[in-house]
């Protein structure tokens, strides 16, 4: 898949360097590669992991019993051995450190397409309020752009990639250009009924999975295994949906197994290119380009920029403000499982559906009446999924009380499909307590200085998690169920930072170069040919998953890069 000289990065005699080099091949990098190759630029993408194409490499349709591990996790596939999430929180040879008193886990994707291969495909737009939260409640900061600036790009992302959903007209949950949503599963209808009884809003999910053919890709065949990568390419992943068409232009070179070390610079402070480790050969290479797009993931991009020091950039690239690595946020997460007797003895049927829930709870409450300033949405799970390692555990806590023998088998049969669960996903507010920086003492296996994380949840986030658990308890009660685990009362089971894998904000966007690293087009204030197209530039989280906004912003930035290149302004 690489160009003639792509694997080494060496430029053969007479061949020009690319116009653009992109660091990272996930949502932000994949979209930049798609847009810029279409605009006529010659682009090279470097990716720290190996090549991985869902139509060739996915383990879709494997039965868990095809492996003695029965689908359970491994160190570098923490979501299961068949999951397309190579990488994880604990990658051999690639350490990070956590400051005393902090708890943080850093999940990194290490494969072509990064974390777009195994994600939940929950593709929510940020709403108009999400770009101007400080104006509303005085906390955090406003974005330098508004929903109206991003809306045209959300619309294009919807049509290019495909998303199902339903128009609802909710105030801060903008409708998109939707394919029809799939009908709910049986267990989802039970939750829906209880939720409606409690006056809660529950609507069809908005997932980037095709329920109709689109742009040459077939519709979903409902095997429920999106996280393993889709052999039919019916869901969104960067390799399947963005990099394939970018390759087809003949203008894209992909260099896999290439770990970026630093952005090299020219005497005037602009980027000259990128130096990287060719992991297979164990040597350092440099690619020169007119434009450098950084899309290595929020924290990895901050690390790269911080490690790119020169006389013009003594604090790291575009960091005279000192803001790089600051204002790190993740999504507030806590969850609960429940056993619901009314779902027992279900009729055997195929309830796989798409690889994710068909319904979810958007945030519709008024925070002014609550003990926390920002909202959350609720994701749901349950059903008669493909059993894997861990199936039917915890029988001592079920009505049978434990047991063995024929009666235990009969109980297992009747309980199958009676387990459901809720996951709250809330907005964290950026503060000075959550950030990453270079740990001066520790390097990775290539000698690249690593990140050290600092993390502290604020009281309002704990309060938000408590409210989530209270809501779950009401829903479980309404269904006549019982929780399947105990939640710590003081913390409400709030997950450690990084567990929800929505890191944002470390390469902050803003109009003031004294307070931000990149401008409203995600262009570095202090190096005009450097752009950041991942979650780094986000000024705030929202109660929405970030991927759709990363894609829209990357599309917007890429369009800007193409214009500026044509105008010879970079």
């Amino acid at each position: 898949m690489t160009g003639r000289d792509g694997r080494t990065g060496r430029r053969a005699g007479g061949q020009e360097p690319p116009d653009v080099v992109i660091i990272g091949s996930g949502a932000g990098g994949g979209m930049a590669a798609y847009m810029l190759t279409r605009a006529g630029a010659r682009v090279t993408v470097i990716e720290a992991g190996p090549l991985w194409w869902p139509d060739e490499n996915s383990d879709m349709w494997k039965w868990n019993y095809e492996s003695m591990r029965r689908g359970s996790s491994t160190r570098t596939r923490p979501f299961g051995e068949f999951d397309a999430g190579d990488g994880g929180w604990d990658i051999p040879g690639e350490p990070y450190t956590v400051a005393e008193g902090s708890k943080f886990g850093w999940y990194r994707g290490r494969l072509l397409g990064g974390r777009t291969n195994h994600w939940g495909r929950i593709s929510l737009r940020f709403g108009p309020l999400d770009f101007r939260r400080k104006s509303i409640d005085g906390l955090g900061d406003d974005w330098p752009i508004s929903y109206d600036d991003v809306k045209p790009y959300y619309d294009q992302v919807d049509q290019l990639i495909g998303i199902f959903g339903s128009p609802e007209g909710l105030p801060n949950e903008p409708d998109g250009i939707f394919l029809p949503p799939p009908e709910p599963r049986c267990w989802e209808k039970v939750i829906q009924k209880s939720a409606k009884g409690l006056g809660m809003t529950i609507i069809p999910s908005r997932l980037s999975i095709l329920t109709r053919p689109l742009n040459g890709r077939p519709a979903c065949h409902y095997c429920g295994q999106c996280n393993r990568g889709c052999r039919a390419n019916a869901n969104f992943s960067s390799p399947g949906v963005l990099l394939r068409p970018a390759m087809a232009t003949g203008r894209l070179t992909i260099i896999p197994n290439a770990m970026a070390r630093e952005i090299t610079t020219l005497p005037d402070g602009r980027a000259r290119g990128v130096s990287y480790i060719d992991k297979a050969a164990g040597r350092e290479m440099e690619i020169r380009a007119r434009v450098v797009v950084v899309a290595a993931s929020a924290c990895e991009s901050a690390r790269l920029l911080l490690n790119s020091k020169s006389s013009r950039h003594p604090n790291g690239l575009s960091n005279s403000s000192g803001v790089l690595g600051k204002y790190l946020t993740d999504t507030v997460g806590t969850g609960i499982g429940a056993f619901v007797p009314s779902l027992m003895n279900g009729k055997p049927h195929n309830c796989d559906g798409v690889g994710g829930a068909h319904l979810y709870f958007p945030w519709v409450m008024d925070n002014r009446k609550l003990g926390f300033p920002r909202g959350y949405h609720i994701e749901i799970w349950g059903g008669r999924g493909m059993p894997r390692a861990g199936a039917m555990g915890g029988m001592q806590d079920r009505p049978i009380g434990g047991g063995y023998g024929a009666s235990l088998k009969a109980a297992a049969r009747s309980y199958y499909g009676a387990f459901i669960g809720f996951d709250g996903r809330g907005e964290q507010i950026p503060t000075e307590h959550c950030f990453c920086e270079i740990d001066p003492k520790v390097v990775d296996q290539w000698g690249i200085p690593v990140l050290r994380f600092h993390w502290k949840w604020a009281d309002w986030e704990i309060n938000q998690a408590k409210h989530m658990q209270k809501t779950f308890a009401e829903l479980i009660d309404a269904m006549g169920g019982t929780p399947t685990w105990k939640v710590d009362e003081d913390t409400a089971g709030i997950e450690d930072g990084g567990v929800i894998i929505h890191e944002l904000g470390t390469v902050r966007m803003g109009n003031d170069p004294g307070k931000s690293a990149v401008n409203r087009f995600c262009q570095a204030h202090e190096a005009k040919n450097v752009f950041v197209t991942d979650g780094g530039p986000f000024v705030s989280q929202a109660d929405k998953n970030p991927t759709w906004t990363i894609l829209a912003l990357s599309m917007r930035t890429s369009e800007y890069i193409a214009e500026q290149m044509k105008a010879n302004a970079l």
């Binding site: 019993y65 009908e183 796989d352 001592q396």
Partner: protein
Amino acid sequence: MTDIARRDVLGLMAAIPLLRAKWEQSLPARPPDRLPAAFFTATEFQTVRILADLIVPRDDHSGSASDAGVPEFLDFVMTEWPDNQTPIRGGLAWLDRESTHRSGKPFREVTAGDQAAILDDIAYPARAKAEMAAGVEFFTRFRDLVLSGFYSSKEGVKDLGYRGNTFVTEWKGCPQ
């Protein structure tokens, strides 16, 4: 939304048989090989088989734990999830000691009735006696592993009535 282009429909029609063929090729021709135990001693492995089959016996719906390769699964996961090694090895030893104490013989050699009497004392944590706590801990863990292995096996998947992992040309939602 853009209209469904003719080529999209053709692409869909073309993709499904190809994908189905690839899928069928990927199905295993036979269950995983049965190998000699890597972790358990021969004596332990005998007890593991007996105990696993007491937890999941053959019935009208499906075979037993050992029919489904659960003992081999248990041996594999001892290495895969090593935190289980000492509690399971120690628990098997506890079981033999308890059995010897009651009937003069290790668990694998006593009658079905004597085996059941011990299990009845450790299989229901809420009503177990305090002095059985170590046995309860072991059995709870062991049962979890056995059920995990059985219900994720081909035999167990069929027993539960899982009907997915296949093509659905038109998703209709809940059939009930």
